[in-house]
């Protein structure tokens, strides 16, 4: 680690892992409620636990992005972070906001738009946190080298903060509400977050493969270009059935179908660069997460997204377990895995150690990925069955759900496997590796 302030990433990564565990435990409880509907039904109803599951996910991914930015910006810009003190204040404020939100949810203190359930004062705190962060990284950028990776990362983070402002607009007209709600949700995950993802990916590839920066940067522009050219108008695939004009069925179908290309480009890019690699980097686990991230985001976000994005298909699949299947693998492949990649890469540096616990970490990779892929397959089958019985045959919603019981059992099993793999991952990055103890002795 060349720069002192890269250490700022450490508390962010620790908090991210804590919330990651909370998120998957929330998922495990939700999955349990699907098969034992009376489980906790009074103390912890499904809507509350689902809120915790999704919000904890978003917050820990953001924690990870903030940490990643503090870790990689000094190396990219070749200067220390502008204000470490501000970064610490930002960290505690954000952690406090996240904890207050989760505890509040348990006491039924929340608002009620999906993913934006945080009370208004917490939303305002999030904006303050974002402003502190943006000020800090922008000042760092301005006094250092402006590399392409630093630029794209900063652009993505600015976009993230700007589009979040739409969270404050909640008109009485439900269709208008939905129109702008997607400015936060879609333009985050299928827009500016892809910039952050690509920047972190580019950074990791430069560090681990030693391939020329020029080559990587040109690719990066192509990837983020493909992401935004398809992703911005691709928002139209959410504008089919919510009271919006019919032309979105054409525009949304065409542009969102092309959202698969940036993910395909990322797979080709990563594998091409790794093959060209002249360096044999000791952190094999981090490289595995990088490769896995490109592959599973291609399948989860790209292929599984394409599967139900065309309007005539979406007419039947909209709002079924098909969406759940896609959502799970897309978030995991793209944003969870890139976070676990940078954390796996950065941890040895942050802790002043050689790469450690590589085998354990790689085991967690394979177990977690298998669990998520299995869960996605199961939910997809459940979704196809649901679509047919409910939307084609016209069966009643609850009757159809009863037919899906077997799949919900298998999904719970997959979820349990994922939770164990997450615990294994967390153990592997925080414990002292055997190899390490050997060298210390």
């Amino acid at each position: 680690m060349k720069y002192q302030t890269q250490k700022l990433a450490y508390p962010y990564f620790i908090a991210a892992m804590g919330l990651f565990v909370a998120q998957v435990l929330g998922g495990l409880i939700s999955g349990t409620i699907y098969v034992f509907p009376n489980f906790l039904s009074v103390v912890l109803p499904f809507n509350i636990i689902r809120m915790i599951h999704t919000n904890a996910l978003i917050v820990w991914l953001l924690m990870g992005f903030f940490g990643a930015a503090y870790y990689l910006l000094p190396e990219e810009t070749e200067t220390e972070i502008y204000s470490p003190k501000l970064a610490w204040i930002q960290f505690w404020l954000f952690l406090f906001g996240a904890a207050a939100a989760v505890v509040g949810y348990l006491f039924h203190i929340h608002e009620g738009r999906e993913f934006l359930e945080q009370p208004t004062w917490i939303k305002a705190a999030i904006v303050v946190v974002a402003l502190m962060f943006l000020f800090n990284i922008t000042m760092t950028m301005l006094r250092g080298k402006r590399t392409v990776i630093a630029t794209i990362l900063t652009m993505g983070l600015w976009g993230l903060a700007l589009f979040f402002l739409f969270a404050f607009y909640d008109p009485a007209n439900l269709s208008l509400d939905k129109l702008y709600w997607w400015y936060v949700v879609h333009l985050w995950v299928e827009g500016v977050w892809e910039l952050i993802l690509a920047a972190i990916l580019g950074f990791l590839l430069i560090k681990m493969t030693g391939v020329d920066r020029e080559v990587i940067e040109k690719w990066l522009y192509v990837i983020v270009g493909l992401a935004l050219f398809s992703g911005i108008l691709g928002t139209g695939h959410h504008y089919y059935w919510i009271g919006t004009p019919g032309y979105w069925q054409w525009l949304g179908s065409i542009f969102s179908a092309m959202e698969v290309f940036p993910f395909l480009a990322m797979v080709i890019f990563a594998f091409y660069i790794i093959r060209k690699s002249s360096r044999n980097h000791p952190n094999k686990a981090a490289l595995l997460w990088v490769m896995g991230c490109t592959v599973l985001s291609f399948f989860g976000a790209g292929v599984w997204g394409f599967m139900h994005t065309l309007a005539p298909i979406n007419y039947y699949t909209h709002g079924t377990q098909i969406t759940a299947a896609h959502g799970h693998l897309a978030f995991f492949g793209a944003y969870v895995m890139i976070n676990l990649a940078i954390i796996t890469y950065a941890m040895p540096h942050l802790r002043g150690m050689q790469p450690y616990n590589q085998n354990l970490n790689m085991w967690s990779f394979w177990i977690m990925s298998s669990g998520m892929v299995f869960m996605t397959f199961i939910l997809t089958i459940a979704g196809v069955l649901q679509v047919h019985l409910e939307r084609v045959m016209g069966m009643n919603y609850m009757e159809v759900q009863d037919q899906l019981a077997l799949f919900y059992w298998m999904r719970l099993g997959a979820g349990l496997v994922v939770v164990l793999a997450v615990l294994l991952f967390v153990y592997s990055i925080f414990s002292k590796g055997k190899e390490e103890q050997a060298t210390i002795n």
């Binding site: 999906e114 269709s175 377990q321 016209g394």
Partner: protein
């Protein structure tokens, strides 16, 4: 990738293209906003009761179990047309009573059935929620959801 593409060209295409598509998107959003207000939803019937009903919907985080116009959680039924299911389009009074009767009976506690919590709504809140569901059922959704029984 083509060797002919330079980094500067790639950067210019990225920034130019992003601005181009974003401008189109904002223009179409403005048009869609106009379309929603004037064509697909009924501004005249969007009363204060409907607005309050939407707040009841949000306060109780209904969307974290149900979907509305297909968006939300997938744990409980879609409610975009629940007003019609309860017969409210033909007899609003009966629709409102059916809604209240249904929600008052929750949770059923029946073993093996998904449980809806008891939200203890006031009469006013039931009125408002009914107004909200009634209004939502009139949104032109391009014929979604599919209605195979008809």
């Amino acid at each position: 990738m083509s060797e002919g593409l330079t980094k500067t060209a790639a950067r210019n295409i990225f920034f130019g293209g992003t601005i181009f598509f974003f401008v189109i998107f904002v223009a179409l959003t403005a048009q869609s906003h106009w379309y929603i207000v004037n064509k697909s939803t009924d501004a005249a019937t969007l009363t204060d009761a409907v607005a309050r009903g939407k707040k009841v919907w949000e306060k109780n985080a209904c969307i974290d179990c149900h979907t509305i116009l297909g968006e939300g959680a997938y744990f409980a039924p879609e409610l975009g047309r629940v007003w019609i299911k309860f017969g409210g389009d033909e007899d609003p009074e009966a629709g409102r009573e059916a809604l209240q009767a249904w929600m008052d009976a929750m949770p059923t506690g029946i073993e093996g059935r998904r449980q809806m919590p008891q939200f203890n709504l006031t009469d006013q809140e039931y009125d408002d929620l009914a107004a909200f569901f009634a209004w939502v059922s009139t949104i032109d959704t391009q014929n979604w959801p599919p209605k195979p029984e008809e």
